[in-house]
Structure formats: C-alpha cells, structure tokens
C-alpha cells in the first residue's frame, strides 16, 4: 500500500510501439453522415446542459458583458456544443500584448481539456448581453474571423442576462448573413455597398434554431434534485411538509420590474448615440459635397478658359490633375451607424416585451382583488 501520493502519473507501461492505427470500417448507416468537407449545412445548434450552466455562471458573475469559447462538433446538420470555457476580460485597449496572452491562454486551455478527454475543437463563441442589444464592432469582427477560419463557420450564442434574472433563460444562436459578410469583406462599407447588398440592421445576422439537450446522466441527476421528499420532522408546518433540493421556478410571476427604468435609459442613450453618429456622417457628407463642388467649378472654369483661348486661336492650356489639387475625403463607413440603429431597435424590442408582459401580470393580479371580482 502506498504511503504517499505520486506527484505525476506513472509512465504508460510497455512503451507502446507506434503501431499503425487500425481504422474500423465505417458502418453503412453512418456513411452518409461522414462530412469531411463540412458540406452538410447547419440546421440546429444544440447546447448541452453543462454549457448552459457555465454560460449563465460566467455572465452572472460580471456586470460588464463577457465572452468565451464554445467547444464541440457538428454531426448531420446539428452543431453539438458540449463544453465551453470563459475568456479573460480584456481591459480596455486591445493591444498586441493582451491579444497574444489571450491566444496563449486559449491554446493552453484547449490542450488541458484534451488531456481529460473533453472536446477540444472550437465551434464558436458566446457573448453575454443585457436588454437584448448585442451588436458591437468586436462581436462582428470576431465572428467574421471565425466564419472564415472555423469549420462550418462557427456560431455566436447570445445569452441575455437581464432576462435570465427575471426567470427566463434566453439563448439565441446567430451567424453573419452572407450579404453582410460580402459587404464587410470589401471595404469601404459605403452607402453604395449597403444598397447593392440591401442591408439593414435586421439583415446583419441570421438566427439559427437552438435546442437544449441534457445527457441521460445529467437529466437523471436533475430530476433527483427536484424530487420531493416528505419532511423527517414529526409535525411539520404545511410549508415544510415536502423538502426538495430544487424548488419550482416562480420568479416569472414577480410583479415589479426593476430593470424598466434602466431599459428606458438605454433606449434614450442609444438614440442619442445614433444621433451623434448621424451628425458625424452628415458632416462628412457635406465635406465631400463641398470639395466635389469646388473641383467641378475649377474644371468648368478651366474648360471655359480653354474655349476662350481656342476662339482667339491660341493653344489650349494643359489640363491639371484635379484629384491632386483637391483632396476629396473618402466616404465614411456606415457600419457604425447601422449597428447603433440595431441597438436602438433591440432595446426598444426588449421594452416592448417587458411592458406587454407586465400588462398580462397586472390583469392576473387584479383577478385576485375585489375590484377584479366585481367587474368581469
């Protein structure tokens, strides 16, 4: 019997000569699912119970929005996400050093997970948000990189923390739409390119249906937790007759809505931001128009002068390079303003949802009062 603990695992015995791996033949029933080139398009994203709880934990720990990586595999059109891990929060500036340490962290984590036989292929990332508004430059940049590099393009799973706090865990899976990606890859993101791709904020992302699955072990365990046992006490009060580790969820019935003011503030703030950005765009547009007008006036003047000289029988002056004389500023990117508009819409949508919800709850509560009983 050992009296001490060995610090590391014993080396595997019988130094396994690298025998040629034996590949079992693929059974015929699976043959059509073999998808080396990722040709079967994604139809569903499926989250494991572990991933749900990890994302919720990570999001509820921090007040700012957090993100992490999703690990898993795709099989026959379903992207099975079986594990996840949080990424460190970048403090403000996205400099070279911090992105380097993040990528080192990522590789170390993936290697460690592989050692304990967990899935280690990245299939996307998750992002926490409040009040439903998740459009940001970073999320789009990251997803654009993923969509290029990852097998199946990767997905982004958005978890709304403010809804989870109200008792409704919300998970949605997205990826960038083809039109948007096309426009995004060919800068400048100008009005012309927006029009040719018919882009509004609604068409930046496309949603993929999401399913939630628990493995049999987990679902057995959860149902054991929510099982009710009779109290061991001799004369329990009615409130204590049953004991359970997991009480049923009734926080959805809470009448008050503490986030309503915050939500309103968010809407106003988003509109303000959008207005500022629109102002900037208008300023730039005017600048471009003014420079263009000056350039055109110059050309017209030159043409007139040349016509005069021709009429007098003189040789025309050489035409100057207009583009060197007048610097016409490049057209500003419309991406920012589009995303801000998306934020406005998302905040307003959440506000709409909560107000309709509290309407239902108010009538439900009134049914319990005398006033509700008197008037049908």
């Amino acid at each position: 019997m050992a009296a001490a603990i060995a610090a590391s695992l014993p080396a595997p015995q019988a130094a396994s000569a690298p025998a040629a791996p034996i590949h079992e033949p693929i059974p015929a029933s699976m043959a059509k699912l073999i998808d080396i080139e990722a040709e079967i398009p994604l139809k569903y994203v499926q989250l494991e119970g572990l991933v749900i709880s990890k994302i919720v934990k990570h999001s509820s720990e921090s007040h700012s929005s957090v993100h992490g990586l999703l690990l898993g595999l795709d099989l026959d059109g379903t992207l099975e996400v079986t594990n996840s891990f949080p990424l460190p929060h970048n403090l403000g500036d996205e400099d070279e050093k911090s992105s380097k340490t993040t990528s080192r962290y990522q590789t170390a984590m993936l290697r460690s997970l592989k050692e304990v036989r967990a899935d280690d292929s990245v299939v996307g990332f998750y992002q926490s948000t409040t009040m439903g508004a998740f459009y940001s430059q970073t999320i789009i940049d990251t997803q654009a990189i993923h969509q290029e590099k990852l097998r199946q393009g990767g997905v982004v799973v958005v978890h709304d923390l403010s809804r989870a706090n109200r008792g409704n865990a919300s998970f949605r899976a997205f990826r960038l739409s083809k039109d948007f990606l096309d426009a995004y890859r060919r800068p400048p993101f100008s009005a012309k390119s927006m029009i040719s791709h018919k882009l509004t904020f609604n068409s930046i992302m496309e949603e993929i249906p999401l399913k939630i699955r628990t493995n049999p072990l987990l679902s057995a365990f959860v149902s054991t937790l929510s099982e009710r046992h009779l109290s061991p006490l001799a004369e329990p009060t009615p409130a204590e007759v049953y004991r359970t580790s997991l009480h049923p969820l009734y926080s959805t019935l809470n009448l008050g809505n503490p986030t309503l003011t915050k939500n309103l503030e968010n809407v106003v703030e988003a509109i303000d931001n959008y207005k500022t950005e629109e102002g900037n765009l208008a300023y730039h547009t005017r600048q471009i128009a003014r420079e263009k007008a000056r350039a055109e006036a110059y050309i017209a003047k030159q043409k007139e002068e040349n016509a005069n000289r021709l009429a007098q029988g003189l040789a025309p002056l050489p035409e100057d390079d207009v583009s060197r004389l007048f610097k016409i500023p490049p057209e500003p990117s419309r991406l920012e303003s589009m995303m801000l508009l998306g934020q406005v819409d998302a905040y307003a949508k959440t506000l709409e949802g909560t107000s309709s919800l509290s309407l239902v709850k108010m009538y439900a509560a009134r049914a319990g009062t005398d006033a509700g009983r008197d008037s049908p």
Partner: protein, 284 residues
Amino acid sequence: MTLGPPSSAVYLNLSYRIPSVTIHPTALFSILDHHLRRTDAQQRVIGTLLGTRGEGDGAVTVRSAFAVLHSETSEQVAVDMDYHRAMFELSQRVNPKEIIVGWYSTGSNLNTYSALIQNFYSQETAPYPAIHIALNTGTQVGEDAGVKAYVSSPVGVFPKPENAVFVPIPVTLRANDAERSGLHLLENAPTSPVGELAQLESTLNDVLEMLDRVLEYAQEAAAGNPADAALGRYLMDALGGGVEELGKGGFASSLQDTLMMSYLANLVRAQAEVSARLALMTAL
C-alpha cells in the same frame, strides 16, 4: 435547499470550526460531465473544486470544478499535480477570486487513497481544511444519487497521511436567479428556449392548477369531510395576501404607464425601421 439528510457533525468538537458548504450547479454539472468522459479502466474520477471562502465564518461556496488526471492501482495512487497547478493558473486568469477549496470524486467510496488525496489538497488549501465532495451518480444499482461533503481529521497516536477520519458536513445547493432559470430549461430538456410570454403562460397554468387543487380541498372540507386546521390557517395566510394597492386606483395609473411604455417602444422600433430603409434610399 439542502442536499441529503442533516449532519450531526456540527456538534462534534474539533480543533477548527466546521465550515458549511454551498455548491452551485455549474460545479455539479462539471463533475457529472467528467464522470461521463472517464476511461473504461477508471472506477472514479477526481478533480479540483474552486470557490470562495467567507470572511468571518469560513463558509465555503463551491462555484466551479475542473477535472484532474489520476490513476489508481492496487499498489499506488498518482495525481497529476502539474496539470492541477496549470489548470488552476488558467482559471485564475479569468476569475481571480476563485481559489482552491477542496476536491471531488465520484462514487461514495472513501478509502486510503481518498485520505492520501485529501492530504495533498489540505496542503493546497492550508491553513483552512480541504473540503471533499463525494458525488454519487446513482448509476450503480441500490445507490441513490446524491452529494455528500466531508472534512477530514487525522486519526491515531502517530498521525499518518494515509489515515484520516472523514467527517460529514452539511451541504446545500444554491442557485441565484439567473442560474435557477438556466436549471429550469434543463429540467424540461430536451427543449428550446421559449419567449417570456410563453413561459408566463405555462407558469400561470401551473398556478391555476394548484388553485383548483386547493379549491377542491376547501370544498371537501366545507362539505364536512375531516380537514387539517393548520393547513386551513396556512392557506388563509398564503391566499389572503393583499394586492389592495391595485384596487385603489393604482391599477389604472399603472395601466397607463405600461401602455405608454408599450406605445413608446413600438414608436421607436417603427422609426428605427423607417430610418434604416431611408438610408438605403438617400444615395439613389
């Protein structure tokens, strides 16, 4: 939310205060996932528990867990300590508040090796005692799924690391509001996340069902069938709760506010949509 029967260990007279243990669902689910991914040769899996320790009372909250490689043979037990340290450093990068509080294993088997591993983790958590969580997955016939927590104390005249008494301590499951709503999804799995209105509807239906049951009981009692007086008083307390505020004009003003909010939200959305379409038109 207690897990398992209450423990008598709180009355033991030990050299340190018995910590109370609270465990969050994420830690439990990580352990289950690790158990599922074990090799055929492994009887049980072990790993490190991360969490926080209360300032005054030493109450331990287990927030997450990660798997650690180990091997047990009849001759020796080995734990990959390098792996354990590396994983701990990685998790510190994301969550510096979470420290090592103990270790977990699956199954309810406490043996000499458990004592040795416990000894190792005690060094990691010193000066505080290490917590051991034994999670029984309930997959063996005749064993119930459940969670037990232990602290250890040395035993014998000459304490040796391979000898220890595992003292059971109370353990409770805690989930904050957000975690609870996540668990709600898992209880009904396989499923898809539903909208808030749909969820409210199903909750209201639950409440209606319960009211029907109470009504049935009350009618039977009124008809003269024997009933429990304590239960009657309890129901009166529970259902008599006042929403008078709503009755006295509060309802109308609340209704106005809510409708206003809904109107405003719709207006903003319509404007946003129009603005987005106009942006496509202007440059034509």
